[in-house]
Symmetry: C2
Subunit: 140 residues, 2 copies
């Protein structure tokens, strides 16, 4: 019998080596500037939903639930391209980030750097966490 | 008593939340082009050595040992800047990659992408793995 053509989602899932917790790390990179915004984790369901909707969905390890980026804060990530690495154990998401990626209100999460012999902050918040999540709200 | 000034290495180690295996994921990005080259893991010792020598050293989970990038293949990574994310659970390494980062001989590990409804290869090897590691040699 001829094999059914594999859907792109099936092909991606087959290429990913999820870890013992069923997760794979995913790097989000702004598609046009090249800025690395954040790293988060995905399970199978998050990969499937992200490819189906074009809006990036992670798996929150702290909340143990799907985490639709921007659902609370409005700072959505729209997928431009999903890439899989050589070993299938990391994803690279080229995204269009609306607003800020970091829950601290900064554009990217990597705002601390070793420079001139010290660990220093190299980016300031663009919006306050309260404006993103409301007072006392927990991000996720 | 006055506190001793913290060294940058101590400050970085204090900022990192290593996982239950004592590891933290590290993204390597080419400092000038912005290309995301690879993701690998570091333990405390790898972070200390990388900051001390300026040559990137990872921890190989498959070999359970320090992995001085390029030691076998000659494809070294030189550190330009180390960044820590908001939660301290991911590192971003801005590097100068000599030659190719991927053990397949490609410049970067993320050479498979979902395009036009299929998972396709978007980059070809620049050198053969045999040229990097010798026949039958296992990369690490």
């Amino acid at each position: 019998m001829p094999r059914m053509a594999q859907s792109p989602t099936d092909a991606v899932l087959a290429a990913i080596r999820f870890d013992s917790n069923g997760l794979v790390p995913a790097i989000a990179q702004q598609h046009d500037t090249g800025e690395v915004l954040m790293l988060a984790w995905m399970n199978r369901e998050a990969v499937v939903e992200t490819l189906a909707t074009g809006r990036v969905c992670y798996f929150s390890r702290s909340r143990n639930a799907l985490w639709r980026k921007g659902e609370t804060s409005g700072q959505e990530q729209h997928l431009r391209e999903l890439r899989v690495d050589c070993d299938g154990d990391t994803l690279l998401l080229l995204v269009d980030q609306h607003g800020v990626a970091c829950h601290t209100g900064r554009r990217a999460c990597f705002f601390r750097a070793v420079r001139d012999g010290a660990l220093v902050e190299i980016a300031a918040p663009l919006v306050s966490p309260e404006a993103l999540y409301g007072p006392g709200h927990r991000h996720g």
